[in-house]
């Protein structure tokens, strides 16, 4: 699971208000190189929940991201860091944890399992 996806995943357990973001408990992180595409990154910058990305990256061992996204047109060094965090860090094994309920969603072989149990629906 890459952080571009983590930035969209919510915990939809009935009654949970604080559904996003899910905290990452990383057991195995791999880095996979992805082609650098500045236009795509600039477009994504507008959509990304920044704090969730920074915290997620930290949980996966990457601390280079600034606490705030730059307000003006972003330069290449920043975009490279953004690119690495968003697309190249891959959670192979671990869990996504709902901050409110504590429920853990497993990530196995890079695939998050977001299925809810019948009493959570």
């Amino acid at each position: 699971m890459r952080l571009i996806v983590h930035n969209m995943l919510t915990c939809n357990i009935k009654g949970v208000i604080n559904k996003f973001p899910l905290r990452i408990e990383a057991e195995k992180v791999i880095k996979k190189e992805v082609d650098f595409n500045p236009d795509f990154l600039r477009h994504m910058l507008a959509k990304i929940e920044w704090k969730a990305l920074v915290d997620g990256a930290r949980s996966m061992g990457y601390t280079e991201l600034p606490d705030h996204a730059p307000a003006l047109e972003s330069d290449e060094p920043f975009l490279r860091k953004f690119h690495h965090a968003l697309l190249e860090l891959n959670l192979e094994e671990g869990s996504l944890v709902c901050q409110e309920s504590g429920r853990k969603f497993p990530v196995e072989k890079r695939v998050p399992n977001m299925l809810l149990h019948e009493d959570e629906v």
């Binding site: 995943l9 996979k32 695939v111 299925l115 019948e118």
Partner: protein, 347 residues
């Protein structure tokens, strides 16, 4: 015209009294629990209520679907490639197509669906797509490539999700597409984030059509489009409360092997979308355009490669193969329809 388009006036003429029967109880699962975890269902209008037994059999259904696809996906991919849906053909085409002809037809199904929904003219607006019931990700990867959009796929099968991710990596698309195990009835996404919500032949598996449609609508962005391509039963005539017993019996036999809990009609979907105030709702019956598909699948199953692979895959695959003639029977007798329903969420 290759597809039969239902002109807008036919939507207005749908009997109004049917809308109330589609409020949440009506299309829910009414199941008896046989000794196996499978369900035999009757989906009839009116008075069906969800019982406690039905809730836990919903989880059994989910597991059944996951296991079915865990077992059969590899086999399908080996013989048919990465699109797990019908091909779109010119009606009455008598030419027997080659394997590559059928693959092209599967691509054409995606293109025709996008065109029918009016998405093709609005390409630039499609930035984020969800593929509900994504299989091994054929549609997701195709659409992501076509529109340069980000695409998330969800499936109940961990085997499919992993395979879909691996294929994305192999095709250098892993920055654009990714796949998760999740339930279409409880999608792990915020409201309104997808410009295009795509359900290609997954609606058949949903036990609660009303909930399924509600979730599709929930995650659609204002101005976004929903495309549902699905197996349905024929529309009921005025005054008809349910299918004939022989028709229901045919569908039940198919349901068991393919883990389909409930059938509804194209009209049912239209009315659900109307009740949720979607606009520009269109539907069509593409049954004539998919007619060559099941005979072609059976032919490939009967080749040496097909038979050997089937035997290796296991009982679910074998049962699936034996059920395919019932699909042909269903289409021939006008019970089963291949429908497309599309709409747009208001701004």
């Amino acid at each position: 015209m290759k597809a039969t388009l239902a002109p807008p006036s036919s939507l207005i003429s749908l009997p109004r009294h049917k809308v109330s029967s589609l409020r949440s109880p009506s299309l829910l699962l009414q199941s008896q629990r046989p000794s196996s975890a499978l369900m035999t269902t009757t989906a009839s209008r009116g008075s069906v209520a969800v019982t406690a037994a039905a809730t836990s059999s919903a989880e059994a259904l989910r597991e059944g679907i996951a296991e079915f696809y865990n077992e059969t996906s590899g086999l399908w991919e080996e013989i048919w490639g990465d699109h797990m849906h019908h091909g779109f053909y010119d009606p009455d085409s008598s030419v027997q197509l080659s394997d590559s002809g059928h693959r092209e037809a599967q691509i054409r199904m995606i293109e025709e669906s996008l065109r029918f929904a009016g998405v093709t003219e609005e390409e630039k607006k499609i930035k984020r797509v969800v593929d509900v019931g994504c299989g091994i990700g054929g549609s997701s990867r195709y659409i992501a490539s076509k529109f340069g959009a980000e695409c998330i796929g969800i499936t109940l099968s961990p085997v499919q999700a992993k395979r879909a991710n691996d294929l994305a990596t192999a095709q250098s698309l892993s920055h654009k597409v990714s796949f998760q195990v999740a339930d279409a009835l409880d999608q792990p996404f915020e409201d309104g984030i997808f410009d295009l919500v795509w359900s290609m032949e997954s609606g058949e598996h949903m036990p609660d059509k009303a909930k399924f449609v509600k979730e599709l609508v929930r995650v659609t962005a204002p101005g976004g489009r929903i495309i549902i391509v699905t197996w349905c039963h024929r529309n009921l005539s005025q005054g008809e409360e349910s299918l004939q017993p022989w028709e229901q019996n045919l569908l039940d036999r198919i349901c068991k092997t393919f883990y389909l809990p409930a059938w509804c009609s194209t009209s049912d979907y239209v009315e659900l979308l109307q009740s949720l105030s979607l606009q520009d709702i269109k539907c069509a019956d593409w049954s004539e355009n998919v007619a060559p598909f099941w005979p072609a699948v059976i032919r490939t199953a009967l080749t040496w490669k097909g038979l050997v692979s089937l035997l290796r895959s296991g009982m679910k695959s074998i049962k699936g193969a034996l059920t395919m003639p019932l699909m042909i029977e269903g289409y021939k007798k006008g019970v089963i329809k291949f429908g497309i329903i599309t709409c747009q969420k208001p701004l």
